[in-house]
Symmetry: C2
């Protein structure tokens, strides 16, 4: 069996943690598996390097920043190699370049174009443990690139896809995906399995475990993922695959997202094409819109409300105000005291009653729903931020409480 | 004009020093020159990285240690690039690999096999300042290697040779080569010029400025060197070239070397081939021998004395004692309270009186000479360590005092 493991920076923060992770890698290898371990930079190394760069030049070029930041991962793999050598194991560290990670030239946010797995394959054939520097690639100019946020997760899934690995184990500081955030819902339960699509919905809803990019890539290349904790490596985590065996469970989890604001355009003229105009303006400004609600007003006017992430709010408001006349709205009403609570589950699509049960649970808890959005595997509601945690508990109780 | 500059770690210790060196590089570039700046790792980075590696594994493999240590230089060049970008200058950082430094596979002490200057040349043609990571290369397995002690000096001279540079400026924390160590001889004078051979003799005698390896390479490829200080970059340093213009000066400098011990084999049988046996044994044990003195004793015996560096002393004594019977000596007498004082000068070869003047100066100072060794451009004497500084001053006074 070929297993790709991935360890984040907090799992590698100091010499003791490195030794601990070396033990996890060694354990996998000693079971007779081929092992590729993808490592992030230690602890806060990336932030520290970035700060040192920006101290010298607040407008440092992305090429040089990539060259600088990639050193964090390069140091990690060399140190881990030494720790594994100390256990008497055959091991070799490889940078993104050595491992054949060719990317485009978008420094700081490069996309992998292809992976030449030959070197990794050769080292595995020699029975070496391969330590791969996450986050790194190189472009056709032979320069170092980095893969952006969550880059090491992307590296791990990409390596697993290129090597046709049997499993990509993602070690984090939580031991799996839960039916809700255990800090909000103390009796949240860990899921044994979940589909890629469910994971994608949960990740985008603030269950901060895996980056969407790596899950999307895992789905595309059908790489089985597992999320588990480096602190309790023997506890089975959550498997993320194409189809789960748990047909019965309609809902996989309940998530809350506080990074959201509601924007309402009030008293719009009711002309055709006005919604298209608004949302193409926002798209041009790279403002992603999530839930959209259009209501028929009195007379010939209507209101359009939608949600955006907080970081996009200012850009969105600016573009709308600049085009107020052209769009023809009277008022712009903004609220950032809102929260989005979502239920995710692949089984939902065949069970139309699921959404109703969710609304019922919220209603019973006296929580007012401002907006609703549904997809095949998700129901999201926008509610008052003050009610968010209570809403998560109420919905979770309704679906998981009685099991 | 194409200038290669080299800056050591102490010149790059923090953000302020980096900015200062950026100013020196910028100044060279703004004079219309093509500039390649070779950088070491910042301050104590190399030592710190090494310590972190050995903490995890006291027997860390050289391959992984090279991968780890090379990150120090990689970080330096990226940070310096940012500092130069902040000055509005076009700049690009290149690792040893990107700059085409192909080496053999002797990790930790690799030799440069060839340099493909194409990338550096292309970047210079674009009018970019090229920042080259010193100390680094890569081997035919596509792995990172490092060049050993003084590696960044070697990188600089090699880059200068490959690019046919007009000058290789080596910035250190002293502003040139002096006729003696200014800490011992306060009125020592800075030399404007010196030959490669003189520099080689001075370096091996403890004038700790340039490593022999880089001077040898400079001599082989006829790369003009200059040693100057990064703290006073406007003060002209010392030029090191094939032939100096200073024909008149017989002696370039006086140096002292305390890293030396004297070993005497007493009452050896006076048989043919005995010296050959002793020194081939020592050579096999990689013990370098410097001054050798053979004296005829009474009867049929003789004594042989020689000097070795302190770090080779134990190995040398071990091999001799193991073969005491075979060699046939009675006693082994060791002294490490000795010091070697040497006069170096290319003009010496045509002036046989120079050595005599040196001995006279020592005699006038009441200093006893234990051993003597001469070459075409050097006279060395072994004396009591307690007399060493006084001897340097006496010899320096005799040759430079009256000028």
């Amino acid at each position: 069996m070929l297993v790709v493991q991935k360890f984040g920076g907090s799992s590698l923060a100091d010499a003791d943690r490195i030794r601990h992770v070396a033990g996890i890698i060694a354990n996998e290898y000693r079971q007779g598996h081929e092992v590729v371990a993808v490592l992030s930079a230690q602890g806060d190394t990336t932030d520290e390097l970035e700060a040192r760069g920006y101290e010298l030049n607040p407008k440092a070029s992305r090429r040089e920043m990539d060259a600088l930041l990639s050193c964090g991962e390069s140091m990690s793999i060399a140190l881990m190699a030494m720790a594994l050598e100390a256990l008497g194991l055959p091991v070799i560290s490889l940078t993104g370049r050595q491992a054949g990670f060719l990317t485009d030239s978008q420094y700081a946010n490069a996309r992998i174009k292809s992976i030449d797995p030959e070197r990794m394959r050769t080292e595995l054939d020699k029975r070496n443990i391969v330590l791969l520097a996450g986050f790194q690639g190189y472009n056709r100019y032979d320069d170092v690139t980095t893969l952006g946020r969550g880059g090491s997760n992307t590296s791990a899934v990409a390596a697993a896809a290129a090597l046709k690995a049997d499993l990509c184990r993602n070690y984090t500081d939580v031991d799996g995906v839960y039916t809700a955030d255990p800090r909000i819902v103390p009796d949240a339960r860990k899921l044994a399995e979940i589909t890629y699509d469910e994971m994608l919905e949960l990740a985008s809803l603030g269950a901060n475990i895996l980056h969407n990019r790596s899950v999307e890539m895992a789905k595309r290349f059908n790489v089985p993922l597992e999320v588990l904790s480096s602190f309790t490596p023997d506890v089975p985590g959550t498997k993320i695959t194409e189809v789960t065996k748990m047909e019965k469970m309609q809902v996989s989890g309940v998530a809350r997202d506080n990074d959201v604001a509601r924007v309402s355009l009030v008293n719009l003229e009711d002309r055709p094409g006005i919604a298209a105009r608004i949302f193409s303006l926002l798209a041009k400004a790279k403002v992603n819109v999530d839930i959209i609600l259009q209501s028929i007003g009195r007379d010939d006017t209507k209101d359009i409300s939608f949600t955006v992430s907080l970081k996009n709010l200012d850009a969105g408001l600016r573009i709308l105000r600049e085009h107020q006349e052209q769009i023809g709205f009277q008022d712009l009403v903004v609220s950032d005291s809102v929260s989005k609570v979502s239920m995710v589950g692949a089984g939902m699509v065949n069970n139309p009653g699921v959404a109703a049960r969710m609304f019922e649970a919220l209603s019973d808890a006296g929580i007012n729903i401002q907006m609703i959005s549904t997809s095949e595997i998700k129901v999201s509601v926008l509610i008052d931020k003050a009610d968010a945690d209570r809403a998560v508990r109420a919905v979770h109780d309704r679906f998981f409480g009685e099991v």
